[in-house]
Amino acid sequence: MLLDINATSGVPIYRQVLEQLRRGIVSGQLAPGEQLTSVRDLAAELRVNPMTVSKAYSLLELDGLVERRRGIGLFVAGLRERVKEAARRELMQELFRQAASSACQLDMKEEEAVALLREWYRHFSSGRKA
């Protein structure tokens, strides 16, 4: 999985690494059992301080999204549905927040907004099933 880090965005680098890995794990792009790149290798690759990567990894571990196998490294955890649910909610929260805010300001009716969201949802979900 390719990470995209912007060192001058004002968002702490550890947070950028954390968010992108979290997204990767929840979306299944990083499969359960998959090993994470070592702290040293990822730091060298991203051109950042190894302590930064190490901090992001510890927080992922705390989230229960990865697990440490002593002496080997970190692996994507076999996620319990509850953990996955929580992480997924957190990811979607921000996107829905923005959409809802704009809809309100533009005086869109609640039913209309929900219908529009449903339309898009179906647009993508039908593609996935096909």
Partner: protein
């Protein structure tokens, strides 16, 4: 990787350091400790005390009162053994003018048992320093690159850099920062770098130490600083927004009919949501650059000093 149970001793421990020059305080009771393996950005205006503080760390300046321990040793009593573990690039450069680049490198090399010839050679080539050229004939930028080479080629545990990139052009500065990044990848090192070109150091530091007229204005992790303040933008399409900031802890604020923005102490999610529903607007939050954060810290100090005076 296992975490050690006992916290390793800080590389630098400064307690209540006071230093006056001709009756004027350059440092007024500075207490700072720097953990091993951190990369510290030392920031402050001219005359804030940055160079004086760095000079104390290697015993080049003696405190009027207070203490400075470097690598566990009183800085004024550092011996050759400890000094051989510390690299320093400072503003008062002292190169022997009649020597050639090659001679100068050979001259410094003998003092360091850990000197890495391959690294010195690679840096000399990268920095485009001709071995046969006399020091006296080097440009300011070339002299600075040579100073950097001499300070890092023995792979010091502690590297102290006082405005190391000031005389370098943007490409050389990028190369230099790249070199620092390489250095920290392979082994635990502590780097203290003072700079007024904040956009440079922002990419590599993990701690920030801000001095303001001889006092510590901020000392902590860069991430915490990044999460202490933010910029908020309020947008409302259908109705004008109130003129004043809706956030209690606001550093600066400006706005027109449909949008407003300002720098604020990072409000909790709940508060943002509350403001959003109260004003019927959407709020976008973005992080600040080191430059902006630096100004936030100093503005905040200014405010607090004013409040005290009242």
């Amino acid at each position: 990787m296992s975490t050690p149970l006992k916290k390793p001793r800080p590389v630098i421990e400064i307690r209540d350091l006071v230093k006056c020059f001709r009756g004027e305080a350059a440092l007024s009771g500075v207490s700072v400790s720097i953990p091993r393996g951190s990369i510290v950005g030392l920031l402050g205006a001219n005359g804030a005390g940055k160079t004086t503080l760095l000079r104390h760390m290697i015993g080049h300046a003696l405190p009027d009162s207070g203490t400075c321990l470097t690598l566990g040793c009183r800085a004024e009593a550092l011996t050759a053994t400890e000094l051989a573990r510390i690299g320093m690039v400072h503003q008062e450069e002292q190169l022997v003018e009649w020597m050639t680049v090659r001679q100068c490198i050979a001259y410094v090399r003998v003092h360091y048992p850990t000197w890495n010839d391959a690294l010195a050679d690679a840096l000399r080539k990268k920095f485009e320093l001709e071995p046969g050229k006399r020091i006296a004939a080097l440009s300011t930028g070339q002299r600075q690159r040579l100073m950097i080479l001499l300070a890092v080629a023995f792979e010091p545990e502690l590297l102290i850099l006082d405005e190391p990139a000031a005389a370098l052009d943007p490409i050389a500065r990028a190369d230099f920062l790249d070199m620092l990044l390489d250095m920290i990848q392979t082994r635990t090192r502590t780097i203290i770098i003072s700079s007024h070109i904040l956009s440079d150091v922002e990419k590599i530091i993990d701690r920030t130490l801000i001095l303001d007229r001889g006092h510590v204005a901020y000392n902590g992790s860069f991430e915490d600083l990044q999460e202490a303040f933010c910029k908020v933008r309020l947008k409302r399409l259908d109705r004008p927004l109130p003129e004043a900031s809706p956030f209690a802890d606001t550093l600066s604020w400006k706005g027109d009919a449909n949008s407003a923005s300002g720098m604020v102490a990072l409000p909790p999610e709940k508060q943002i949501a509350a403001v959003e529903s109260r004003l019927g607007c959407s709020i976008e939050r973005t992080g600040l650059s080191l430059d902006e954060l630096y100004r936030c810290v100093l503005d905040r100090r200014e405010e607090m000093a004013d409040e005290k005076a009242e």
